[in-house]
């Protein structure tokens, strides 16, 4: 059914604004935030700054959680144990992308992926990025290792690991 709807409004272009054809007010509010990392993630991030990847283990179900959590949501109890994981492991799942998060195109495709790090108990996945691979070479199960930033550049962030590369 064709509906004859009159849409009210006045179309404006960037040019109308730039050439001062219409009056306007503009503002850049400073929208700052501080996200409380909590006890577990704080220690995890501090670990990254020192080049260590820390997870937590539930002593009941023996699961290792990464990023660490302060409670096991399966057993519903606090996690007591800290576990040091290796900075290498196997690709559990991946995709590849040719655009950055602002949708601009990259020269070389990269692979957002989940890596199962050695020293975990299975099902322990860290979300990160693999770079330096051809799309045809990438497979689930591929051995990868972390490429760390130099210690003086680390700030206690997930980006202290630049990316993962084939082992």
């Amino acid at each position: 059914m064709h509906m004859n709807v009159h849409l009210a409004g006045t179309a404006l272009s960037d040019r109308d604004i730039k050439e001062g054809k219409v009056l306007y007010t503009e503002w850049k509010p400073r929208a700052m935030y501080a996200w409380d990392a909590g006890t577990a993630i704080s220690r995890f991030l501090e670990g990254l700054r020192n080049g260590i990847i820390l997870g937590t283990e539930c002593v009941k179900c023996r699961r290792v959680m990464l990023p660490p959590r302060i409670f096991c949501e399966l057993c519903y109890r606090p996690t007591e144990k800290w576990v040091k994981l290796k900075d290498r492991g196997r690709v559990r799942t991946f995709c590849f992308t040719r655009v950055r998060c602002d949708a601009s195109r990259v020269e070389e495709p990269f692979f957002p992926m989940v890596v199962e790090l050695d020293g975990g108990k299975g099902g322990t996945g860290l979300f990160h990025v693999v770079k330096g691979m051809d799309v045809s070479e990438m497979t689930v199960g591929l051995r990868v290792k972390a490429l760390w930033k130099p210690p003086e550049e680390r700030i206690g962030a997930i980006t202290d690991i630049e990316n993962f590369i084939p082992e």
Partner: protein, 158 residues
């Protein structure tokens, strides 16, 4: 360390700080465009009149709130009105204490609907009274930019 231990050192807790890149550009709209151009170019206040109920809106509205008519009849509303409400503000908009408290008021222009909220000047707080006669003071033509700040302030009518 068990995770249920008390955290005693604040450096053990991290906060992740960031800033959202936000900005906006807000156009004055159909009525605002005429209203502010008139202030900027001619130093005059204008309102929109409803042909049915006769109400004049200042600040202008392109619809009559009573009759729902589309309005396009611009009328001069003069420079005078009365003080509808007022206050004084000791803090600025980031919460910093001002050296001198700012006087702010809502002024209803004569024979119109609505109020203009603006600074009050050439007057002491103790002299202000609801209902007192007020007059608009424009900035010099060279300083006007087509904004509400082209009005410098309102002052009591002599």
């Amino acid at each position: 360390m068990s995770l249920i231990n008390k955290v005693s050192k604040s450096r053990d807790l991290k906060v992740w700080e960031g800033e959202f890149p936000v900005q906006y550009l807000y156009t004055c709209g159909i009525a605002g465009e005429v209203f502010f151009r008139e202030i900027k170019d001619n130093g005059k206040l204008k309102g929109l009149r409803c042909h049915q109920c006769g109400k004049v809106y200042v600040p202008p509205s392109i619809y009559c709130e009573e009759c729902f008519n589309r309005l396009d009849e611009w009328v001069d509303v003069g420079n005078q009105g009365h003080l509808y409400s007022f206050t004084q503000s000791h803090l600025d908009r980031v919460g910093k204490r001002r050296e001198e408290p700012a006087l702010l008021g809502a002024v209803n222009m004569d024979h119109t609907e609505g109020v203009l909220i603006h600074r009050l000047g050439e007057v002491e707080f103790s002299e202000l009274k609801i209902g007192m006669r007020m007059e608009v003071v424009f900035k010099k033509p060279s300083e006007r930019k087509g904004s509400i700040l082209d009005i410098s302030h309102f002052k009591p009518l002599e």
